[in-house]
Structure formats: C-alpha cells, structure tokens
C-alpha cells in the first residue's frame, strides 16, 4: 500500500536546499512565546515547519509523475486556564503570528469552560539553542532527478527482461526542517530525512486467468540517498531471498522478484494447520507494529482513540501487576527514538523532549508504555518519554509510536541455521495483507513470499497462506531469535492515527524469529 503524500506548493531543488535562517525562526518563535504569555497562557510552544517532499513514479518504460512539494507554516499550542488551545498559520509576518497566538489562547480559554480536569504537564527543562540532524551521507534532494529516473527505469527494464508484464517503481523522499521553541526555554532546530524506494512487479497467466505480484523487499529508512548505493557487506545471502540491511540493491531485488513471481504462479496451496513460523524482519516488522506498537500507546489504553483506531487490551492493571505475561522469555521489546537509520529517529520530539530508549516488554513482561508530557503522570513517570509528533505544522501534535523493536538474541544464530532445526514450518518474507482488531487481540497476516520448510530444508513456495493468532498466545510461542548480525529494520511511511487522521513514519527492528505452532489458514477461493 503506497502512502498518498500530500504535496503543498511545488518548489525547485535549489529552493529546497536553502533552509530558513535559524535567527529568523527564533525571532518568529519569540513573538509567539511573548504574545502567549502576555495574553494569559501558562505554557506555549511553537513549531515552525518546512516539509519538503519529492516523489518519482514510473511504470514500465515511462515516468508517471515527478513532483516536488513544500509546505511551510507555524503551529502554536498553548495552555491557558488549564486547557489546551491550538492555532496554525502560514502567514508569518509578526501581526499574523500574534493574531494566531491570541486565537490559540482564546480557544484554550473556551475549552477550559468545558474541561473535566486541567492539563498536567510533566516538567521539562529548557535546552537553550540546540540542533539535531539525521546522520545522512547524501541529501536525496541534491541528487539530480535524471539519476533517480534512470535508476527506476533501469529497475523496470530488469523486470521486463525477467518476463514481467507490468512493473511500477517509485521513490519517495522527505525532509522535515523543524524548529521548536517553548516557554520552557528550548529553541530546537532539526533537519530530518527519510527515503523509500519501492516497486510492484506483476506477471499474468492469461490462460489460467491468474496473476501474481511481488513488492520490493526494501524498507523505508531514515537515511539519505546512500541507502540506494548497494554494498555487499550490507547484504545477507545464502537463503532463498537476498536480504538487505542499511544499503539496498534495487536492481538485484527486482531481478529476484521476477523469478519469485514465476514460483508464485506455480506454488502449491497451503494445507491449513499448525506450523512453526520463521519470520524475516521484512515481514515481522508489521506484526510488531500492529500487535506490540499500537497496544502499548498510552492514549489508546486510556480511551482517547476509542472512536477511530480503538483501545488496547494492555490495560493499566496489567502493567501495574508487573507480571503480565505478554510473551515468552525471548520477547524483549524496546522503544527507541535514537536508532540510526530508523524512521523515528530524532533528537527531540514535537514538544521539546530529548529522545531516548526504554524497555516496553522485558523478558516477556509488560513493563512500560509510550507517553507524552500530559500523560506521563498517569503511569507515574516524572518526565515524558518523548513520543509527541505532528505530521505538519498545521496539525496538533499528539502521542505517536516511537520505533518499537524486538532485540536480537545473544546466542550466535543465523537465519539459515534457524531453518535447519524446523521440521514443519513456513518461512515468510515481506509484508502483504494485515488486519487486527481494535483492542489488538486477534490478527491475520500474510507475506510476499512463503516457503515451505520440511525437516530443516526449504522445499518450495506456498500460496494462499495467512496466519491467525491471538497477540498474547503468539508472542508466547516465540522460541528463538537470530543474533545481531541478522538484525534489520522494517518500517512504514504512513501509519495513520487520530481524527482528523495524521500520518507518521516509524521503524521496527528485529532479527529473523521463530514462533512455534501458529495456526495457518488457506485463503484461496473461487469466484
């Protein structure tokens, strides 16, 4: 599923490379902070955001779309009389900024009249003037469009040479230039980069009336264009699929995909039953996202998302008991806002909290959630965990998922060796269909590629395989993790939450991991 990125005004590459002066941003921010205080706000923060996007979309031998977009403006959030107020503007002269600030204060005072309890904000020290940048080697916006178009058309050419009937390839690039300031005394300038190359290759068996596809096994990353420079040391070979760490070989992946789709067209239908699953990180990341990431969001637990995304089975009593058995002892899951190359890596969140890393599931036990400043007190935290994010300057920041990852095992183990010990199993790669209930108990996932394992050997491709499980039972069936050498990041560019809905990008790392005795169904039907 490709995200529908919203593009603002179109800009040239030269303009994209010239950030707004920090001194000017500080001056604009001070207008907000001073106006808010003068009008009775007890707290104020301001985000001056410049969001750059570039997308290149191709199909077979032609370019479907090339677009550069920019969205620039300011979001102002205040507390007055104990309630939140928010206003946004893209008119950035002093009068307009002051007017928007006064509007935010007026909305807060209006909301205060119907509030049930005042906002309790976890204390946050000011950091003064600081900055943070995604550690990239090559800013993707500086790479000529022709080079990107060539890469994608070469990918398409390889696909067509491999017998593909249709091939779509796309490249998405994002740069968030964000400035945050608050009455706590922080002035934070950040430059954040993300990139996502992907394709879908299709072959048709017209006589049989069948078609099959395979999507790229790339990951969206918090990286620059260097992600697209292949490096042998970042590949894992030897299995049925070449796997990529922090460098992606798009041409190699599409050549393999063309072969995989032939195998998919001839694959054997799965016999439903219980299987041991060996899940590659390119697949497992989404299961982690849906079954661990979402239910440990504290706002869901508390009911703030009840009308849309849902609530959570991980209620506060389970956390308070300090013994809720979320998974087996193998299950160690961390929230990490710092991991290099991840989509969620930032220095500071969208309410000026320095980011960090903490345990969510420790040796199988639920030990923590994901929180922001106005929720931290509910779980006895003295400070926020830095999970606040807004997808645009004109969106209200709220709690969003940090990178939530399964740590690698400490005993040396490769994926190939893990497979050798499986008697009757399925080895799955890549995300496909995914669905989970609103409290995150029951889920069903399928993969881009599913290989049958018999007595320690991969014996062929399977079709129509989807596994169904209960979250707690599934994570308790986790028996083995590969080691650090196999650890990789998967991720999504467009996790949706909130009303109006906002998108956020997040990564989930894991090693190849084994789950025993999971129920697998056959999804083949005839119409």
């Amino acid at each position: 599923m490709l995200p529908s990125l919203a593009f603002g005004k179109l800009i040239s590459v030269e303009e994209a490379l010239t950030p707004v002066e920090v001194a000017l941003k500080k001056k604009m921010a001070d207008v907000v902070l001073n106006t808010a205080k003068a009008n009775g706000a007890s707290y104020a923060d301001v985000r001056i955001g410049r969001y750059l996007n570039q997308v290149i979309a191709t199909r077979e031998k032609r370019v479907d779309n090339i677009a550069n977009g920019e969205s620039y403006g300011m979001g102002i959030r205040v507390i007055a009389n104990g309630a939140w107020g928010f206003a946004a503007t893209n008119n950035l002269d002093n009068d307009s900024i002051a007017k928007a600030t006064k509007l935010a204060v007026a909305i807060a005072k209006g909301n205060a009249k119907i509030m049930t309890e005042p906002v309790q904000l976890a204390p946050q020290k000011g950091y003064g003037e600081v900055n943070w940048k995604t550690p990239i080697e090559t800013n993707a916006f500086t790479v000529p469009i022709a080079e990107k178009v060539d890469l994608l058309l070469n990918v398409n050419n390889e696909a067509l040479k491999g017998g593909a009937k249709y091939i779509n390839s796309n490249l998405f690039m994002v740069n968030e230039q964000k400035y945050f300031a608050s009455t706590d005394g922080s002035y934070i300038d950040q430059d954040i980069h993300r990139i996502w190359p992907t394709f879908t290759l299709t072959k048709i068996d017209a006589a049989a009336g069948k078609f099959e596809t395979r999507n790229a096994l790339s990951s969206p990353m918090g990286m620059g264009f260097e992600y697209l420079k292949p490096l042998d040391s970042e590949k894992i070979k030897g299995g049925p699929v070449t796997m990529y760490k922090k460098r992606y070989d798009m041409l190699e992946d599409v050549r393999e995909a063309a072969v995989h789709v032939d195998e998919k067209l001839k694959a054997k239908p799965i016999a439903p039953g219980k299987y041991d699953l060996v899940l590659d990180p390119s697949h497992l990341f989404l299961t982690i996202h849906e079954s661990v990431g979402h239910p440990t969001e504290l706002d869901r637990v508390l009911g703030y998302e009840a009308n849309f995304a849902g609530t959570s089975f991980l209620t506060l009593d389970k956390w308070e008991s300090k013994k809720f058995n979320f998974g087996s002892k193998e299950v160690n899951i961390v929230a990490d806002k710092l991991e290099t190359g991840s989509l969620g890596a930032v220095g500071y969140d969208d309410e000026g909290v320095k980011c960090g890393k903490w345990d969510i599931i420790k040796d199988g036990i639920l030990v923590n959630y994901q929180t922001i400043r106005d929720q931290a007190h509910i779980i006895g935290e003295k400070e926020s965990q830095g999970c606040c994010y807004a997808d645009s300057w004109d969106s209200i920041q709220f709690q969003r998922m940090p990178n939530v990852s399964l740590t690698p095992g400490t005993t040396p183990l490769s994926a190939a060796d893990m497979v050798k010990n499986v008697e009757r199993g399925i080895y799955m790669f890549g995300r496909n269909s995914y669905s989970i209930d609103q409290q995150r108990y029951n889920f069903q996932f399928s993969a881009q590629l599913a290989y049958e394992i018999k007595e320690g050997k991969i014996v062929g491709m399977l079709k129509d395989a989807a596994y169904q499980a209960n979250t707690q039972e599934f994570w308790n069936s986790c028996v083995q993790r590969c080691d650090q050498n196999d650890y990789r990041l998967g991720g999504t560019f467009s996790d949706g939450k909130g009303q109006p809905s906002q998108a956020s990008a997040v990564s989930h790392g894991s090693p190849t991991t084994r789950f025993n005795g999971v129920s697998v169904i056959n999804t083949g039907r005839k119409i």
């Binding site: 090339i66 977009g69 249709y166 048709i204 009308n307 209930d437 009303q499 109006p500 039907r525």
Partner: protein, 438 residues
C-alpha cells in the same frame, strides 16, 4: 477566503491560462474550509478549523507534461507556477498515454451544496456534541466521537475552453460509546450534505443502546452463518469491490473483473439476480459532482443489472485504446433494495447474526477479492426472528463477490457514506476465528 464563487474561480483560472506558453494547459483550483471537534472520555479533547486552497497547473509541449502546484495567489506566484510547470514539461520524457484536453462540455447543476451546512461554526459543532455527551453521561457510558463539517469548491479550466465548477458541503458525525466496565461498545456514523438531516442526539442514542446491548457477549463457534449486515457493514464490504470496476485493470488481467483467457467479465452474470447497482450524482439523497477530474460529464450509470455487469469505468486513454466511450465512476452509488426495514429482516431470520459494522478490512487476494476484517461495536445472535444475545466479535474471510451471490433479502437503502446502501441478509458468510476485542 477558501470558498470562491464560480466567477471568482473563473477569473483566477483565466488569469493563469493567460500566462501559459505551452501547447496545452490545464488548471485546477480547489479549496476547503473544514471545522472539527473531537471528544473522548466524555470531554472535548481537540477542536480546530482548517482553511486551505490550492492551484495546480499541467503544461504540455507535444506529449511532454509537467505539473506544478502552489498555495499563493498573487500575480507573481501565479506566473511562477505556470513557468515551473512549463520547465518541468520540457524536462519530462514523452508520455505515450497523453490525451489532449477536452473542449467545452455541458454539465448538469449539482445538488451538493447546502447553505445551512456551510454556515456551521464552532458553536454549532459544540452544541451538536453537547447533545451526544448528554446521552453518554445520562446512560453512564463513555463517549469518544468526532464531528466535522466541510465547505468545498473545485474548478478546472483548460486551453481548449473547458470550464467546470462545483461547490459542496458535508457534515459527518461518528461516536463510539463504551460502558465503564469495558464489556460493551456501540457505534454510529452518518454523513449528510444537509445539516438539517443530522441528528446527533438520536444517533448517540443508537450508539448507547448498542453499548448496553452488547455487554456480556457470549462466544459462539466460528463458521458459515446467515448474517444481516446493517448498511454500514454492507457498505464496508462493497467499497472494496467498486474499486474493481475499472476496465483497464480488468483488460490487463489483474482484477477480479478479468476473464480467464483474456478480456473482461463485462456482460457476465457475476452476482445474484436481485443485485442492482447504479450511480447517480443527481440523486438528492447522495448528491455528487456532475463532472470528473478530467472534465467529463458524470451522469446516471447502471453498473450491475439483475446481477449482470453492465458497465466498467474507462479513462479517456483506455477508451481510446478500446474504441469505446470514456466512462467515469461516481461516488454517488445506489444499491437498490426492497421496502423491508432492518427489523423486518431480523423477524424473517430463523438463525443468524446481526453485524453493526466491520473493522480493519484488508484485501487478502485481489483475484477473488477475498477480504479479511472483524466485526465491531455490536454483534448479536438472532433466533426465531429475535435478537437473543450479544456475541463475541469474529474475524471474517469473505469476498463481496461471493457475498453478492448469496443474497437472501435486501432492505430499504439508507445513506451510508456517500452512497445509498440497503441492509442485507446474506447466507453462508464465512467467520474464521473469534476475537476478544470489545
């Protein structure tokens, strides 16, 4: 600012076109003014108003097209956006599928605008939400809901003289009510163009009754059951199917509408004989725009008649390849039904399951349109024409194509999303596992 009149939009579009030096130029101008209020745990959480307008320019030299967008409207910005589109066009490779702009067209006047909805303000929204909160607090339930209204305009003009303009309003309300023990949950959702039709009090009472009625659900075995799908649940399933009424993907062999051996299933009996589906933007219950994004008139179109596929949607390019007329799709879908109410359908059911809505529906297999998802916010067991008890939620694996071959009865259609959809009684609907979610 954001909602321009026909004349104001026309003036800006003409000015933009006057700057064009390309062989062909197409310009679009759209704006919206959207206000919302969100609540949870029986209290307002956020409220906002967003006012946006944007202009898009597509310039073409030969078969080379470039597109640029902007959200500033002074003369210098308008010139700049045209220049950028032209620069990009010169850099772009030729598009073999390029279609030259259409000349002037005739469009019917749409019914999408309502002045009262357009005049909604934060006080109107707060008042409507207060009614909903009075229900939840009175029933000792917890409500989380969202009310949003939008006032929009869209317009296009091209260098061949085509001009189209439409103004629309919409108000949308949804609320989830849960009991304090977390053992029951109910939901309603409703869209209208006309504010007068929206009754947040009555809707909230339905959600409250479902929340109380669904408490203490019993588990029954997954399997094939006769289901009564409320219009919202039916609409959740159908939405995924309508995207498949595209001739190109069917011709290309990658859709459930593709025929074995090549071609499409146009003209085939794909559904039960009692399935009749059309779209009509001039239906006053589900009004829609009378022109499509590429400037084609949108008129009443029969998609399925007595279970036979009567039409597929063709883009201008694909129609030119297939020597047929282009045919745009419309969101103003009407699925015909009967005169029976939901209660009548329940009364005529010996054993079955009533489904309020589905959740997290995803495509499992695009060839058979197999979908998976779960029931949510009120699932009930029916025996001898009566609701007997609430049941635990199920995961389903089912295709809307198979579902529409198993239609036992259809009730009276009601507005659901942007369509008119009947409640449906369907036999042999496949539930594959139980969920503990409430």
């Amino acid at each position: 600012m954001a909602i321009l009149s026909k004349e104001e939009a026309q003036a800006i579009l003409k000015k933009v076109l006057s700057y064009s030096k390309a062989d062909a130029c197409e310009v679009s101008l759209n704006g919206s003014d959207e206000g919302n209020i969100r609540y949870a745990r029986n209290a307002v959480s956020t409220a906002g108003q967003i006012d946006v307008m944007s202009l898009g320019v597509s310039s073409t030299f030969g078969k080379k097209t470039g597109t640029a967008t902007i959200n500033e409207f002074d003369d210098a910005s308008l010139k700049k956006v045209v220049e950028r589109a032209e620069e990009l066009a010169k850099l772009a490779p030729e598009n073999p599928e390029y279609m030259p702009p259409l000349g002037p067209q005739t469009f019917s006047e749409s019914l999408t605008y309502n002045a009262k909805t357009a005049a909604m303000n934060p006080d109107t929204r707060a008042e409507m939400v207060a009614k909903s909160l009075s229900v939840s607090k009175g029933a000792k339930l917890e409500a989380a809901g969202f009310l949003v209204n939008a006032n929009r305009f869209s317009s296009i003009m091209n260098s061949k003289g085509l001009f189209a303009y439409n103004k629309s309003t919409n108000v949308s309300f949804s609320v989830t009510m849960r009991n304090q023990q977390g053992t029951g949950s109910g939901y309603v959702e409703q869209d209208f163009n006309n504010l007068d039709k929206m009754d947040t009090l009555a809707l909230s009472k339905i959600a409250a009754s479902k929340a109380n009625g669904s408490a203490g659900a019993k588990a029954i075995e997954p399997g094939k059951y006769t289901v009564i799908l409320e219009p919202l649940a039916a609409s959740d399933m159908l939405g995924n199917m309508f995207r498949g009424f595209d001739a190109r993907s069917a011709d290309e062999g990658r859709s459930f509408m593709s025929k074995k051996g090549g071609g499409t299933r146009l003209g085939e009996q794909l559904f039960s004989e009692n399935v009749n589906i059309y779209s009509d933007p001039l239906n006053p219950e589900v009004p829609g725009s009378t022109w499509s994004g590429d400037g084609l008139p949108v008129t009443k179109t029969q998609w399925v008649q007595n279970g036979v596929v009567k039409n597929l949607s063709y883009s201008r390019y694909w129609a030119s390849q297939k020597n047929t007329q282009p045919l745009p799709f419309s969101r103003s879908i009407v699925m015909e039904g009967g005169n029976q109410s939901l209660e009548d359908l329940i009364k005529s059911t010996e054993k079955g399951i009533l489904v309020t809505r589905f959740w997290y529906i995803r495509m499992v297999d695009p060839q058979t349109l197999l979908l998976t998802g779960l029931t949510r916010d009120g699932t009930f067991y029916i025996e001898n024409g009566e609701i007997k008890f609430p049941i635990k939620n199920f995961r389903f694996n089912e295709s809307p194509v198979i579902m529409l071959n198993n239609v036992e009865a259809l009730g009276k259609p009601v507005r659901t999303g942007s369509g008119l959809i009947p409640p449906m009684k369907i036999r042999d609907f496949t539930f594959s596992s139980l969920s503990d979610a409430i």
